[in-house]
């Protein structure tokens, strides 16, 4: 029975069973029907020692290929300061539960309050919750908020400029939650304002969800959206990349009612897709419909400043099926991650991250066009990621890049490929990629490329 995570000696077990009045451990399962007790050996590997576990994962790690990242599309390879892993590994944060006992959870509650302050600061909204699972599920919650906030409306409109994984998750929630969706097409790489107006005019629209930066990397001009949606008593919802909000016009400035998105871009490693952290923010009019945990400031009986989970009457453990959502947890530790990141970066650091990403992305964009392998897809403003029309089949291009250890040119739509540049990418990096593409004999046709045989 001896095992590092079980402290019981044989003698301990004997004494404990005696106190209970049971003969054996199995007697403690006397209430379980005998035919559901599992008596076979479990189909699991033999127990490993720590060293063997390390070796095992090192072998698995060799089956992954580390690639230099020039891809965005919802996961961004930004620089992550050395401080953060040290802070979030502190066991007082890592091994704590939800702060239901505020007297011994002020650490968690305080950083959530700071996180909320920073997210509202970035988005220009009045309030936000303690975080959501990821951007896509935050968008689904935004959809349900819009439905709950606007009685008698039956539809939510989604821009086709949203990232495909976000659209798919919202569609899944909508299907089961009973929300009808409508779609606003893109025209020339941006959400069609005219199409949105025509749809909203029907008067049955609870909310319109548009991207701040769309799947082509283009910064959307949302002039007129808020007025048009509000005129029909609907809500404007924006899906934002929070990192970008240090420099681009905020959803608050556009007049949005609800903002959602993924805060992975705030320094969280790519981590094969998770854990990331979603955010959901709104104007104060919609606070009572906001799902999830919210931390508020208060005082203790001695008058000391303290923080506590608040407005819990919205939540599942109180309201059960009448709750604003079924969400019970948040991505707390990842909220700490981005709070520490934003503290370190500050307004100036975050601006520089965008400045460097912007400059690098535009340099790569221009140099790729010079290779003759690409054409401009849309001549619209972008920040750190962009889309080009590839004259070479996208799969071929992606394979060719992978031969030099670069991940990029992911196909967004047929013939259209994505590139993304962050502050981690240097001019030398870009020059090397461009020079390679220029010289690697990619054939502008659908024929099989020689590069595959390099």
């Amino acid at each position: 029975m001896a095992f590092a995570y079980f402290p019981h000696t044989e003698d301990d077990i004997r004494q404990m069973l005696d106190r209970i009045g049971a003969g054996t451990l199995e007697d403690l399962y006397s209430d379980v029907p005998a035919d559901v007790i599992y008596r076979k050996e479990y189909d699991l590997p033999d127990a490993m020692s720590e060293h063997e576990v390390r070796q095992y994962f090192e072998e698995l790690a060799e089956q992954n290929t580390s690639l230099f990242c020039l891809c965005g599309l919802g996961a961004y390879d930004h620089y992550s300061p050395a401080v953060i892993p040290h802070i979030i590994s502190r066991s007082e944060y890592l091994t704590a539960y939800t702060p239901y006992q505020p007297e011994v959870s002020q650490g968690t509650l305080r950083y959530i309050f700071e996180y909320q302050s920073m997210i509202t600061g970035l988005t220009g909204m009045d309030c936000t919750n303690a975080s959501m699972y990821d951007g896509a599920t935050a968008a689904a919650e935004a959809m349900m908020m819009a439905m709950a906030s606007t009685k008698k409306k039956t539809r939510v409109l989604l821009s086709e400029g949203l990232l495909p994984q976000v659209v798919e998750v919202v569609k899944t929630y909508a299907k089961f939650n009973g929300v009808q969706l409508g779609f606003i097409p893109c025209q020339d790489g941006v959400t069609s304002y005219g199409a949105m107006l025509a749809e909203v005019a029907a008067g049955d629209v609870a909310g319109v969800l548009v991207p701040g930066i769309n799947k082509y990397g283009i910064i959307e001009d949302l002039t007129g959206y808020a007025d048009a949606v509000h005129a029909q008593k609907g809500l404007l919802m924006v899906y934002s990349d929070p990192s970008s909000l240090a420099v681009i016009k905020t959803p608050g400035e556009w007049g949005a009612d609800i903002v959602c998105g993924d805060s992975q871009s705030l320094g969280i490693p790519l981590s094969y897709g998770g854990p990331y952290v979603g955010f959901l923010a709104c104007t104060k009019d919609h606070l009572r419909k906001l799902p999830g945990r919210i931390v508020g400031a208060t005082r203790d009986v001695d008058g000391k400043r303290a923080y506590v989970l608040t407005l819990q009457a919205r939540e599942q453990h109180i309201r059960r099926e009448k709750a604003t959502s079924n969400i019970c947890s948040n991505q707390s530790l990842m909220a700490l991650y981005v709070a520490v990141y934003m503290s370190l970066m500050g307004p100036e650091g975050l601006r520089k991250v965008n400045e460097l990403s912007y400059g690098g992305a535009h340099y790569l964009h221009d140099r790729l066009l010079e290779t003759g392998l690409f054409e401009e897809a849309f001549d619209k403003p972008f920040l750190k990621e962009f889309t080009l029309r590839s004259k070479v089949p996208a799969a071929q291009l992606q394979d060719a890049l992978m031969l030099i250890g670069v991940f990029g040119a992911v196909e967004v739509e047929e013939g259209l490929v994505n590139f993304c540049v962050t502050e981690k990418v240097s001019k030398e990096n870009i020059d090397a990629v461009v020079e390679y593409l220029t010289n690697c004999s990619l054939v502008i046709s659908s024929e099989r490329s020689e590069s595959r045989n390099l």
């Binding site: 802070i87 959870s105 990842m334």
Partner: protein
Amino acid sequence: MKYYDKLIFDLSKAGRQGYSLPTRSWDATLESLPAGLRRTEKPELPEVSELDVVRHYTNLSQMNFGVDSGFYPLGSCTMKYNPKINEEIAAMPAFAGLHPLQPAATVQGALRVYRELAKALSAITGMAEFTLDPFAGAHGELTGLMIIRQYHISRGDLKRTRIIVPDSAHGTNPASAAVCGLEIVQVKSNANGLVDVEDLKPLLDDTIAGIMMTNPNTLGLFEKDIKEIAALVHQCGGLLYYDGANMNPLIGMVRPGDMGFDVLHLNLHKSFSTPHGGGGPGAGPVGVAEHLVPYLPVPKVVEDEDGLLSVVDKDGNACGRISGFMGNFGVLLRAYTYILMLGKQNVKNVGPLAVLGANYIKESLKGCFKLPIESVCKHEFVFDGLLDQSTGVTTLDIAKRLLDYGFHAPTIYFPLLFHQAIMIEPTETESKETLDGFIEIMEHIAAEAISDPESLKTAPHTTPVRRLDETTAARQPILSYKDLV
């Protein structure tokens, strides 16, 4: 724990920086963006040095209690030890550096982790297949219910839109069902704290999509009639959903699949040792029986005959997509590490040792605290307050007093079946000495309730802050630094 009163914003001074970025310059600058697309004012973020940040968050952490700080007998939360090797593996750059859209050929190691963890969870639970995409327990519940609905819809059985939920269920059960568009039908508990089979029978008709069960239930009691319930629900065409929040006592002893459950979720942050992180990130994998495999969400990982793994993103049978990418992958790595450490040898003892601890505390304390249902319990049990409640000392007072003595409080006022519920769950990673220390303090508190009730009613006394004004917090919400200053 010492009180520290600053917010990071209080430390801010214009011109300080905590970052280190390359100094390179590019030709294109943000000024070339159209002015109408640019932000007009700087975001309200602090300007602090690196040491400011390190000290601030270190000081904050010291006002927090974690499993590593002390005993955390929080019922229904399974606060077991979080092994450190889990953290080391999850931080390996070969996993942490992978972009989620990388082609399958370049992420075979990561997909192998996903696949092997799914298989191990199948072995432990007796389910045919798993999705590891759900982010948390409640998210797993929602996904499982979507699978149930998709199953009925695919059979053209469209009127099954009601779901049975016991009155003792976790609050997420009815909430998840509501998000999934299901109408909730409540089934009562009997005097023994179990689902009342006679109350259940008349509820079963052709509008029932299924029943959500927690077994052992939130009183820590095994639903002995589970096989009869399974037969009844299946006969009426419904499916059985297993809320895996209470899976820990069954690990190594009982498989939900063998009890007749069709769908379940597990909380990797409870039963499989991944840290709770102050409320997340967790993971809520969903397992299904053979007949429901087609309805699992996308993306899913499939293995071909040569052992090559790939990701399926589109599948017309699937209930849909429920996560941006493939769940909280870092959490999956931790849980898989834990299972490899356990192996087939140690897995058998997880449940029994957890159950041993719970019964040991229950039997030791039932002379001071009111045990409403006398029965062998599983991983947790519920007292209904003090045996002697004449002094007016409540469950809240007991919980707060425990904090003074260096223990985290149990779960209180849940389940709702009793007015003074105290739900205690020790887990298998706590020693007899730790449990004895807790028992001694609980006895001491019961004695204090008679001798000095005021010390309990005003507890805690030694924590960084004392009881909070929660009413004002909700009436006049202050939710950000901007509201505070």
